[in-house]
């Protein structure tokens, strides 16, 4: 049997000591009939091996688009990466030819999606969809590949894997389906896993099981995890570092404890205050006023200013500051981060 862990031919310029993933000033725009939408506007973050980086933000803030740009699976047109760098161990993926880029997917950087029912092909057995990876990327025979598929289902703790391997996605429950997705992403032993809202479609008890499974597998493999979510609770449990996104930009970046203890951006603060709390039972839940802006028509100045209770004239006139150093290990894109942070 072929060993899965045999790495492919080295990419040109690959530096084993460089970070597994580094995104620098990524720009993505969608060219639509209603104008150009700047879905991602200079997003930067990095990821160390074994680390969990959470990207937090509400729907439409550009977090999924960032993930798709990293994977190179944006729908083009209308989506175009117009600038920035996506470095995998020092190699800029955006400069690779498509044939090389394709080999990076699933082999080195893999992704799991939100809704496993629609993300799995309904007309093929899960065994086929798992085995396909080994057959196409590792040249294994159908038989060997199927044996590996069964091992993978075992790995993600699907009971009776030997029988379930011949089942179709619709025959699995929601949690089991997400386990299949995870198995598929981990099949070729990637160094980076991007999880795009992996638990949103699941109920709370299953969410916890899936997150525990992910954490366990991550630790075993010392794999970097980019966790895209809007669920503050999930983030608090598993993330090491957090990037908060708003309207296509990272507006705050910090370690998980710092953010929960003292947010430095009014948007982050608003998010944290909108978490229902047991000790505040009976009181009205605070929410961030207003709606996120349309990406084709961003407000002048800081994109968050119409909803911000700290906003001053400078916020409405001047563009938001780039990320300001709050402490050695954290940044925030707000003129008034001191007030936000101190105002506890």
């Amino acid at each position: 049997m072929t060993d899965v862990n045999v790495k492919l031919d080295a990419l040109p310029g690959l530096d084993p000591n460089a970070l597994p993933l580094e995104v620098k000033n990524l720009q993505v725009e969608f060219r639509t009939r209603n104008g150009i939408a700047h879905a991602v506007n200079g997003v930067s973050f990095d990821l160390r091996a074994g680390e969990t980086r959470a990207i937090l933000g509400e729907s439409g803030c550009g977090k999924s688009v960032t993930a798709q740009a990293i994977m190179g699976i944006l729908d083009t047109p209308p989506g175009f990466v117009t600038g920035g760098e996506i470095l995998y161990r020092g190699v800029d993926l955006l400069k690779l030819p498509e044939s090389e880029r394709r080999k990076v997917r699933a082999n080195r950087i893999a992704m799991i999606f939100q809704d496993a029912l629609s993300a799995l092909n309904p007309v093929f057995t899960v065994g086929f969809q798992l085995a396909e990876l080994f057959r196409k990327h590792r040249g294994m025979s159908r038989q060997d590949a199927k044996a590996r598929a069964i091992e993978l289902l075992d790995l993600v703790k699907i009971p009776a894997a030997r029988q379930r391997v011949n089942d179709y996605p619709h025959q699995f429950s929601g949690g089991m389906r997400q386990r299949v997705m995870i198995a598929m992403a981990l099949a070729l032993d990637p160094e980076v896993l991007i999880a795009d809202e992996p638990t949103t479609a699941l109920d709370v008890t299953v969410q916890a099981q899936i997150m525990a499974l992910l954490a366990e597998l991550q630790q075993e493999r010392n794999m970097g995890l980019v966790l895209i979510t809007h669920d503050m609770g999930v983030v608090a449990d598993v993330a090491d570092r957090i990037s908060v996104m708003y309207a296509g930009r990272v507006i705050e970046e910090a370690g998980v404890d710092d953010i929960y203890a003292s947010p430095a951006h009014p948007y982050t603060k608003g998010l944290l205050e909108s978490i229902p709390r047991l000790d505040l039972k009976g009181q009205e839940l605070s929410a961030i006023k207003g709606l996120p802006p349309a990406l084709t028509n961003l407000p002048s100045g800081c994109a968050f200013n119409p909803r911000c209770r700290y906003a001053q004239d400078v916020c409405r006139k001047d563009p938001a500051p780039s990320l300001l150093q709050v402490s050695p290990s954290r940044t925030a894109a707000c003129h008034f981060w001191k007030e936000v942070k101190g105002d506890e």
Partner: protein, 336 residues
């Protein structure tokens, strides 16, 4: 699954009986209004009454109900059912040939025609639909959209006659004037009608005419289906798995997109049978369709009832097979 098939087979019984009765009633009405079909045998001459009566009796047109306008002729229908289901005897035509023999002679031509039509519409239709669907809004897409609307809007009898005149006669004549073109092509394929010397080549163009309308529908169905699936989440997953573009489209997208198309093609076998009646008449193909048309004209009720009943059975069986195939193609479908 087994129970489902049995239930469907049982449903055949009322459908077949109903069709037979309807056909029986309509052919009886035709005889009641236009007179004894046996007289057609004698052309303009007036037959001796004794001879006419003898032949009428022999062919089974002697029942008095056939001269009472509007009579349901239930007794005659009972006799017909009895001979069809207990003796497998579908009766004889005016020239005293067995209907089963007539069908056996005509069927191969119609089958050939159908195979050509279905192959043509499946291969060309799916290919055009895939090309159009993959690049929505492109030149190919518009070409397919416009040409299919054009084909769908032209009725098959107009299309058939136009193709016969321009391709079979005019273009064929040009080809026949050239020595270097083999006869199979010049007199066989591009002939104005069916040629017994070229039983396959001369059916190609009639088959294409027969398949044309469904080809347009197939192309449009494939196009929509591909466009819908190309943005599906599982296609994105397939891309994220690092599969080649060829595999993402050829395996993951196409397999899902073809489910409705194949269902349509299956059901279309029935429609193509109906279309064959027109196409065979235009191109003079001695198949089932022409047999039914001719018999309906001369009022040979036994032939019409027998042949159409067989056609109904073919359509019913085809539909059942399509429904079963649907479950094979889409594992989410289960029959209980």
């Amino acid at each position: 699954m087994g129970r489902y098939v049995i239930r469907r087979l049982l449903q055949f019984i009322p459908t077949v009986l109903g069709t037979m009765f309807l056909l029986h009633y309509m052919t009886s009405l035709a005889i009641q209004f236009s007179g004894n079909p046996v007289r057609a045998l004698f052309g303009d001459r007036t037959p001796p009454p004794a001879l006419l009566e003898a032949i009428t009796e022999r062919l089974g047109y002697g029942d008095p109900c056939l001269s009472q306008k509007g009579n349901w002729c239930i007794g005659l229908f009972g006799d017909r059912l009895q001979s069809v289901f207990f003796h497998f005897d579908f009766g004889i035509n005016l020239r005293q040939r067995e209907v089963t023999d007539l069908v056996a002679d005509a069927l191969p031509f119609t089958l050939k025609l159908l195979v050509i039509a279905i192959l043509f519409e499946a291969v060309v239709g799916i290919a055009a639909g895939v090309l159009a669907g993959l690049r929505g809004g492109s030149f190919t897409d518009y070409l397919v959209k416009i040409s299919t609307v054009f084909i769908i809007s032209v009725p098959i009898f107009v299309l058939g006659v136009v193709v016969r005149e321009f391709v079979g006669v005019k273009f064929g004549n040009v080809l026949r004037g050239q020595d270097w073109i083999p006869d199979v092509i010049s007199t066989g394929m591009f002939s104005p009608g069916f040629k017994p010397d070229y039983p396959f080549a001369s059916l190609i163009i009639p088959g294409m005419v027969l398949g044309a309308v469904s080809l347009a529908t197939t192309a449009r169905l494939t196009r929509t289906s591909i466009m819908e699936n190309i943005r599906a989440d599982y296609v994105r997953t397939a891309k994220a798995k690092g599969l080649t573009n060829k595999r993402v489209i050829g395996v993951h997208t196409l397999r899902n997109s073809l489910i409705p198309v194949i269902t349509f093609l299956g059901v279309d076998i029935g429609a193509a049978m109906a279309g064959a009646v027109v196409t065979e008449t235009i191109f003079n193909v001695p198949g089932i369709g022409r047999l039914v048309t001719m018999s309906a004209r001369t009022g040979e009720s036994s032939v019409v009832v027998g042949v159409v009943t067989m056609l109904v059975l073919v359509v019913l069986v085809a539909n059942l097979l399509v429904d079963l195939l649907y479950a094979v193609l889409d594992p989410r479908i289960r029959y209980e």
